[in-house]
């Protein structure tokens, strides 16, 4: 559906040339939710804007729905953009228009007749759950409602692709989840391809099928969300994965347990997919002469399966401990000794 080939973007600034995006190659399939994660300044914002040519790449090609976006004429590009919806961190609604008229705006641009517009706006208002708010102005809405208007507006012309530019970063956690649910719903109902950029791993975990990690303008890691969670290769990726797999301040809270009685070693076990349902701990206690203490644990669900991490304190004879670790490894569960190893 979308193919980026050797994309590069240079900006000229007073301090010289800055490479915002550096030789990025990506393929995004039809109907998938593809996430790009990175800290601010990583180039993800520039990257997503090159998909609809709000920013033109300095070199490289963007192929979207079999069209080479960079080579389109001005009017062809405007037409192509009608098939690509986009939502924004700060919603970017026209405050002088009501909810209805905001949603109708892209339809006006596409030259849809007034009756058709009204019909379509009704459908969209229902789709995003804003019934009864059609006559309100954006200033009268909450952040979540504004983003719903943004989504309805982006979907007005039945696009094949939806671009989300930090769409939930200005929202509180609860509202973020409701917007993410809506995006998944739209993705499933309409078979829409969604490309989103974010700095929150939570967003990737919750709705993305595949993820690319960006740093300094480059994609440093890419793959299925679950694989990336399971085997993060880059330091950068590990940091992001930690955001969602480890309960907050895990290290600190565990550290003060280190050295307590009955806690010889501290292990971090990582379960992926079906592993979560294994009776691993029961097996360990029954088979080996060790004591096990559960310190902390968390299970996160992703679009391709569950992912969990469990911290346990374990005490026993050194030979027994080695056997335990071998046993865990045999069960295809990731294990890392984080203390006393």
């Amino acid at each position: 559906m979308i193919e980026l080939k050797g994309i590069q973007k240079l900006f000229q600034t007073k301090d010289g040339q800055v490479t915002a995006v550096d030789n990025v190659n990506l393929t995004i399939d039809k109907g998938e939710i593809f996430g790009v994660i990175g800290y601010s300044g990583a180039g993800k914002s520039t990257l997503i804007r090159m998909l609809n040519m709000l920013e033109r790449p300095t070199s490289g090609d963007v192929i979207l729905d079999e069209k080479d976006m960079g080579s389109l004429s001005q009017s062809d590009l405007r037409f192509a953009r009608q098939g690509i919806g986009m939502i924004f961190q700060h919603f970017n609604l026209l405050w002088s228009r009501t909810v209805r008229d905001n949603i109708a705006f892209p339809l006006e641009i596409a030259g849809v007749s007034k009756e058709e517009r009204n019909k379509r706006v009704d459908e969209l208002i229902k789709l995003v759950g804003l019934e009864g708010r059609g006559g309100s102005y954006p200033s009268q809405l909450s952040g979540g409602q504004k983003q719903r208007v943004g989504i309805a507006r982006a979907l007005a012309n039945n696009p094949k692709v939806l671009l989300c530019d930090e769409a939930t970063s200005a929202l509180d956690p609860k509202t973020t989840d409701s917007i993410l649910d809506l995006l998944v719903d739209i993705n499933e109902k309409l078979g829409l391809t969604i490309v989103l950029i974010t700095h929150e791993m939570h967003v990737i975990r919750k709705i993305c099928h595949r993820v690319a990690v960006m740093e300094n303008g480059q994609v440093v890691e890419e793959g299925d969300v679950l694989d990336v969670f399971k085997h993060p290769k880059e330091e950068m990726t590990k940091e992001f994965v930690k955001q969602v797999t480890e309960p907050e301040e895990t290290e600190k809270s565990l550290e003060h347990l280190f050295g307590e009685k009955g806690i010889g070693q501290v292990l971090q076990l990582t379960f992926v997919g079906n592993d979560v349902t294994k009776h691993l701990i029961t097996d360990l206690i029954r088979t080996y002469n060790v004591t096990i203490n559960i310190l902390q644990g968390k299970i996160s669900s992703t679009q391709n399966g569950a992912y969990g991490s469990l911290f346990i304190g374990i005490d026993g004879e050194p030979e027994e401990l080695t056997k335990v670790i071998d046993h865990i490894k045999k069960e295809q569960v990731e294990v890392e000794v984080i203390h006393g190893g």
């Binding site: 405007r78 970017n92 006006e108």
Partner: protein, 222 residues
């Protein structure tokens, strides 16, 4: 009653002068709004990083605006006498004041328009572009409607400045309340005429401000 306090006021003359002032103000407000908006749009659209970025056109427009905004109005009227003769055909009557009023006020208003347009969130323009909007659609469906409250409050301020400009235009024989206050009031030492003309001008200014405020408030949905 009125005859006791204002013995020298000719009420028919006062009425005519009021109509002349309203005519000069009204016409010049309409044209100032039109030309000022166009000039303001040119200033905004040709500025750096904008859709029609063009340093030469921006420079020329900015210079024109700055020059005519800086010339004191009373001097501008005199400087424009040949120009006014050429397009109006005479230097007498309220219509003769219009070219100077418009040329004096439009650049002033153009700067307000430019500021109003710059206040629009860039994200909204970007969003419109992402939907495939053309430049024309962005100007007429986004820039102007989104800045309308600021455009209206700007024209309110400009209208009030124009009321006082019409008073100065009285000096070149354009008529109106300023002319009446000066010639029938000041020159003939009829203080009551000057006072009455001032009262009417104040009423006009209050009315303009009131209407402008109400309109701005009604348009502003932020």
């Amino acid at each position: 009653m009125a005859e006791i306090f204002f013995p020298n006021v000719n009420w028919d003359r006062l009425w005519d002068a009021t109509v002349e002032t309203l005519y000069m103000t009204g016409m010049s407000v309409v044209f100032t709004f039109l030309f000022g908006t166009i000039l303001g749009l040119v200033l905004f659209l040709t500025s750096k990083d904008n859709m029609w970025e063009n340093r030469i056109i921006h420079g020329i427009t900015a210079a024109f605006v700055n020059i005519f905004r800086s010339i004191p109005f009373i001097i501008l009227i005199v400087l424009l006498i040949p120009f006014t003769r050429a397009i109006v055909g005479s230097m007498l009557g309220p219509s003769a004041a219009l070219p100077a009023l418009i040329i004096g006020a439009a650049p002033f208003y153009a700067r307000m328009v430019e500021i109003a347009l710059r206040e629009i969130d860039k994200g909204v323009i970007e969003a419109s572009r992402s939907m495939g909007a053309s430049n024309k659609e962005i100007i007429f469906k986004v820039l102007l409607p989104e800045s309308m409250p600021a455009l209206v409050s700007g024209i309110t301020v400009t209208s009030i400045a124009l009321v006082s400009y019409t008073a100065m235009a009285g000096f070149i024989g354009a008529g109106g309340l300023g002319d009446m206050a000066f010639r029938e009031g000041f020159q003939r030492r009829n203080e009551d005429v000057t006072l009455m003309a001032t009262i009417v001008i104040l009423l006009i200014v209050f009315a303009v401000q009131f209407i402008g405020d109400r309109l701005t408030h009604k348009l502003d949905k932020r």
